[in-house]
């Protein structure tokens, strides 16, 4: 299966892409996917992850999700 990984704001700058399509398995976790994509990138405690447009757990398998997004600290408004 395929998943689209989005990176926004400074995570986009750090990762060097804003969007990338990746092959993965249902049991993959966001953390594992990110590690495969950018082995040296550490989301730390401030970067959240969204799976199919919902905030999710870094260690919860993605299941049938088709979108994964890195959400650095937000600052809208």
């Amino acid at each position: 299966m395929q998943i689209t990984v989005f990176a926004f704001a400074h995570t986009r700058d750090q990762l060097g892409f804003g969007e990338k399509v990746l092959t993965c398995e249902a049991q993959d976790t966001p953390r594992a996917i990110l590690r495969r994509l950018a082995p040296r990138f550490d989301p730390g405690k401030t970067v959240r992850v969204a799976v199919d447009r919902e905030y999710a757990d870094w260690d919860q398998p993605i299941g049938s999700a088709s979108e994964l997004a890195l959400i650095p600290p937000v600052s809208g408004g």
């Binding site: 750090q14 905030y55 600052s75 809208g76």
Partner: protein, 133 residues
């Protein structure tokens, strides 16, 4: 509750009020405006970006949650993306309700929740878009 949530890359134009309002007694509006000083330094503009699809669904859910606590009739949100010059509005919110307290409480809480959870970001200068590391 009627919800209208929009993102725009143009200056915000306040939409006309819905004509004769049935049982609306209060209209609370909020403009968030880009200030000249951001973190102690003078800036000409802020640059906003969003994960639009997620921001929209998050904001709709936030509206539904707040509506349970502060029942209101109508919400209109316009959030600007791209560069927003100093002195211009980066967001506009309008909340209509029967009684004023609900609209005030809803509006204040909605902005707080938006700032905490909506995937929207501002940077002092245009962020690089897709440069290699």
């Amino acid at each position: 509750m009627k919800k209208q949530i929009e993102f725009t890359r143009a200056p915000i134009v306040v939409p006309p009020q819905p004509g004769k309002l049935r049982e609306i007694g209060a209209c609370v509006e909020f403009h968030g405006i880009v200030r000249k000083m951001e973190n102690g330094r003078v800036i000409p503009a802020l640059f906003y970006e969003a994960y639009e699809a997620m921001a929209r669904s998050q904001l709709e859910r936030i509206a539904d949650e707040l509506n349970a606590a502060h029942p209101c009739d109508e919400l209109c949100l316009i959030h600007r993306l791209g560069p927003v010059p100093t002195g211009e509005a980066s967001m506009y919110l309008r909340v209509l309700s029967r009684h004023r307290q609900e609209a005030f409480d809803f509006a204040a809480a909605f902005v707080t929740r938006l700032k905490a959870d909506a995937p929207i970001w501002k940077t002092p200068a245009p962020a690089s878009q897709c440069t290699a590391p």
